[in-house]
């Protein structure tokens, strides 16, 4: 004989089991419509494998398991799938979830099915997958997929297999009557489980208030080695952890599983379902459910097809709605109230309890906790509910965890015993949810902190790299220039010649110094002219791009204002800044233009020639303006591309973060892309006209003059450091264009490299700007 241990605490509520035991199990029949939730078990919901309009047969799989911890769903009778849609499911919250709705055709036509005649001859994995495919999930109430329990324990040796026939909750008699009527099937199921697990001992625990069930089971288990253990009735002996303690004296470690102490525990109903699945090939499509309570005229147990609406059962049980103010699925201790009688019976529904008001009156208002400790006396896991209540009210989560809140099995014994009628379990549920939420929030906050820090570090690193490169380039340019001044013999010769020729005219004290000064002065005109021209071009480019940016910024601002976005202020500042910049650029450009017009240097013959030629050509405006236009458009394309890259970057970040602004960013990207396309089209329209004039230019006398003048100037200047820099700039520009083209192609094909290209383009542009700056610096130095 097995030595029975006692559990701590426990209560003895009125059992109320006799009412529903007067009649044998009766099939509840086939309702017109069955509602089958995709999630009737713990784990991932099943995925439908039928569509609306399909005819399904009894036992046909209509939804398959998704993932390891999941269970398939089968059609409980033949009929037509009429909908796959959210319906109210059995859940404490009264929430809706996806269900497959079947209109039965009344023929109850079975799908082709076949049992395994000798399961010992079959591979164990095949057997487990048979159980899994039958959709069997713990029928005692939790609904944990049974196959997972069987396959999970293979790496840990299992000494004890326990079948739970305790049924400690008041009112419920589904297991009791199943053991009385189908003990043989339960024992057969237990034999299959024994074959799979190979435990040293198999125990079936039954409370001593079910003498008939005990007798039936003992008779059925005769000679099998399965031991039927009866023990004193006490709630909640039927909790898995409590039953393990009663039968073996072992305790499942906190946060652990029974298999950690070498035990697998299954409900007797589950064992019977496993027998039906293995020996007859029948999936889990029905179960025994108790319909009881004083508001039911004829309480009894039914064999119910899964998916049967509760109302259908109540109708058969002479339900008196006017007497009943709460309808409970499950027992009076751990069941939950239903709001809607349309909810279906699922794999875990062991009882529908319809009590009268007198039977289970609404709770009176709670009185103050006097720490009487009656709750601690009855707690089956030796918690201090009265302390946890105070901590829960004060939201002291640390203290709650210190008092092992998460070991609470929510059996409700403390609330039952509380003389002040405090809904203790409700407090613990709320606190558990709060703590879980806080943990989630903490993880989330840490992740976003990491992300932010990584981004910040990247930006800083990039800025530092840029700065370092810029400095290095500046240094290099300076060094080169210094070397050029010292070592470039050609320049020296030229300078010397200039100096000599000038020295003749002037009568300065230091002839060399004066010569340099004069030579520089002479060149100054060219240099200044050159800079001015380029500066004007640059300024015009800048003006165009700034105007564009302003327009874009204004658009964004408008959008933000429309959406009542938080970023309005930022956008407004951007608009203000851009328009200020625009004004400044315009002003600079105007000044430049006026100074060029007014004080064009005339002493340089080359420059004068250019100026003259340009003046001449300005008469033939179209050619000139076309070239300018090309330049402008190219510049615009460049800036638009830059903006596009930035916008895409933003969009990607926003999408990754699930930001609300992702839509706005997407619009911005589309708009920018459109603009870019328009610009490119414009450029393409111009390019042929500008490309072909390469030869006609020679016919153009003005252009020829420019060319000549340039050539002359080039000759006069020789290959200076500046020209090298200019060459460098030209090659850089070419590269920038090439990269831009690549980027476009990449963006159009949605290539992953687009981002890298965009970055390299930006870098190249930075280089170009730096080169231009260096050139300007060179010029200044030369001047």
């Amino acid at each position: 004989m097995i030595q029975i241990r006692d559990i701590h605490g426990g209560i003895h509520p009125p059992e109320n089991k006799l009412q529903s035991l007067g009649e044998p199990i009766r099939p509840a029949g086939i309702p017109a419509q069955l509602i089958l939730p995709l999630s009737q078990h713990i784990g991932a919901p099943a995925a439908p494998v039928v569509s609306v309009g399909d005819r399904v047969l009894k036992g046909q799989k209509i939804a398959e398991a998704k993932g390891f911890v999941s269970a398939p769903v089968h059609a409980p009778t033949s009929g037509t799938v009429v909908a796959i849609e959210p319906r109210v499911i059995p859940h404490p919250s009264g929430m809706s979830a996806p269900c497959i709705i079947i209109n039965s055709d009344g023929q109850d036509e079975w799908v082709n099915h076949q049992g395994i005649s000798d399961y010992t001859a079959v591979d164990k994995n095949t057997l487990i997958s048979t159980i899994r495919e039958a959709g069997i999930a713990g029928m005692g109430g939790a609904g944990f997929p049974s196959a997972v329990k069987l396959s999970g324990g293979q790496d840990k040796p299992i000494q004890t297999l326990i079948l739970n026939g305790t049924e400690c909750e008041p009112y419920i008699t589904a297991d009791d009557i199943l053991m009385r009527e189908r003990a043989g099937q339960i024992i057969a199921g237990a034999e299959i489980l024994r074959h799979l697990i190979e435990p040293q001992e198999t125990l079936i625990g039954i409370e001593d208030n079910k003498p008939e069930a005990i007798a039936a089971m003992r008779a059925a288990a005769e000679g099998t080695g399965i031991e039927i253990v009866s023990f004193p009735t006490k709630y909640p002996s039927g909790g898995e952890k409590q039953l393990i303690q009663i039968l073996t004296g072992k305790e499942v470690p906190s946060g652990g599983l029974p298999s950690d102490v070498g035990i697998v525990c299954q409900n007797i109903g589950t064992a019977q379902a496993i027998y039906r699945a293995v020996n007859h090939g029948e999936p889990l499509i029905s179960r025994v459910t108790t319909v009881t309570g004083n508001a039911c005229g004829s309480p009894r147990n039914y064999e119910v097809l899964l998916g049967t609406p509760v109302q259908y059962l109540l109708d058969q049980s002479a339900f008196n709605a006017s007497d009943c103010i709460r309808l409970i699925m499950g027992g009076p201790m751990m069941g939950y109230t239903l709001q809607d009688t349309a909810v279906p019976v699922v794999k875990t529904t062991n009882c529908i309890l319809a009590p009268t008001v007198e039977e289970l009156p609404p709770p009176p208002p709670a009185q103050a906790c006097i720490r009487c400790g009656m709750c601690a006396e009855v707690c089956p896991v030796s918690l201090l509910p009265q302390q946890m209540y105070w901590f829960s009210r004060a939201q002291e989560h640390d203290k709650l965890e210190e008092h092992n809140l998460f070991d609470c099995i929510e059996c409700g014994a403390c609330s039952y015993a509380c003389p002040s009628h405090i809904p203790l379990v409700q407090y613990y549920r709320a606190s558990k949810a709060e703590i879980r939420q806080a943990q989630q929030d903490k993880i989330k906050a840490e992740r976003s902190k990491e992300r932010f820090e990584a981004r910040q570090a990247r930006i800083e690193r990039e800025a530092a790299e840029k700065e370092a490169k810029r400095k290095a380039r500046l240094e290099a340019a300076k060094a080169r220039q210094a070397e050029a001044v010292k070592g470039d013999s050609k320049q020296d010769i030229i300078q010397a010649a200039i100096a000599r020729s000038q020295a003749k005219k002037s009568g300065d004290a230091d002839p060399a110094q004066a010569a340099i000064a004069r030579a520089q002065a002479a060149r100054n005109g060219t240099a200044v002219e050159e800079t001015r021209e380029e500066k004007q071009q640059r300024l015009e480019k800048l003006l165009a791009s700034t105007t564009k940016r302003l327009a874009a910024a204004q658009e964004k601002l408008a959008q933000a204002e429309g959406n009542n976005d938080d970023n309005i202020a930022a956008f407004r500042t951007a608009v203000e800044k851009t328009s200020a910049k625009l004004a400044a650029t315009q002003k600079e450009l105007d000044e430049l233009k006026s100074s060029t017009d007014g004080a064009a240097p005339t002493d340089d013959p080359a420059a004068a020639a250019i100026a003259r030629a340009q003046a001449k050509r300005s008469g033939q405006a179209p050619a000139e303006s076309e070239q300018e236009k090309t330049q402008r458009i190219t510049a615009q394309i460049a800036s638009t591309e830059k903006r596009l890259a930035a916008a895409q970057d933003k969009l990607a970040t926003a999408k990754a973060n699930g930001d609300d602004k992702a839509d706005a960013f997407a619009t911005a990207v589309t708009k920018t892309q459109e603009k870019l396309d328009a610009l490119r089209a414009e450029l393409a329209a111009i390019t042929p006209t500008t490309a072909t004039p390469a030869t006609p230019v020679e016919d153009d006398p003005a252009a020829q003059a420019i060319a000549r003048a340039m050539a002359a100037r080039a000759e006069s200047a020789g290959m200076s450091e500046r020209e090298k820099a200019e060459k460098n700039i030209a090659s850089l520009q070419a590269r920038v264009e090439k990269t831009a083209a690549k980027l476009r192609a990449a963006q159009e094909s949605g290539d992953d490299n687009a981002e890298i290209l965009a970055t390299s383009l930006d870098k190249m542009r930075d280089k170009l700007t730096a080169a231009e700056q260096a050139l300007a610096a060179l010029r200044e130095e030369e001047n």
Partner: protein, 349 residues
Amino acid sequence: MAFLKLSSPHAHGPMSTPRVMRLVLLATLPGIVSLTWFFGFGTLVNILWASLFALAFEALALKLRRRPLAFYLSDCSALVTAFLLAIALPPAAPVWLIAVGIGFAILICKHMYGGMGYNPFNPAMAAYVLLLISFPVDMTNWLAPRGAISVAELPGPIDALLRSLGAASTQFDAVTMATPLDLLKQNDALLLDDLWAQSPQFGQFAGLGWEWANVGFLLGGLYLLYRRVFTWHAPVSMLASLTVIAALFYDGGSSASGGSPLFHLLSGATMFGAFFIVTDPVTSAVSNRGRVFYGAVIGILVYTIRSWGNYPDAVAFAVLLMNFAAPFIDHYTQPRTYGHKPRQNREKS
């Protein structure tokens, strides 16, 4: 069809807080009967006044705190406080003394801390100590018991009422005597047997009258234990530790003896304290293990204060001291939860 949306459990046990309070009140009856038998109607008059004041002050506090009167008054907790203080006070105590005590207990000790369930100190004991320190003469004015004086000298209902109101009755002249605990404390010359023989206040095992009052409260306490109003841990450990320490210092009855264990168990407020004060759930330790410690230390403190302290009224002081210590005890006596290792091991790992 609208059904109630309620969280489990849906069933509820028969016990309720007002019922617990009424059971406590009921359980004081044997003690009250014996006190009345031995000391006249003074105790009943105390209870009458205390109950009236307690209900009045409770109603005042609830009104000030804007709480529903009927709901909170019906929990009977104010009456329990009233009964406990009234029993502890000398019979037929002055009405103003009772008013001050009850006012302090209900207004300061209970409602200023947040009402029922929030008070860190036992209101009745805190009020008793306040009165003892502030009005020592009135608080030590114990009437002589039946047996030490003639029955005619015991106060009847009218006498007791008049005496409590400070009006002298023509027929009744109250005889007060030192309590047995006082006598024992002040004795330093006589062997215990001689002291017993010389003083009319001593009875069979302890003080005359006192021993039966203690037996009465013991009976009431056993009844509450039977009704599972509280667990055995705190009272039993208190009585056990008091017995042990009294046995240690009982030297067979010399002039320096502290008195026999039985004397201590049946003297003063021992049984009243063990079953009606130490078991106050609000102010005691919460776990059973904690309550064993809590009760045991109270037992030791009771003997210590009785034998070597200034006041012989040891239970009130001992309880108040341990009320301070209760949260500390709770911290170290949290029970081992299912599936957890014993505390020491858990801390090491």
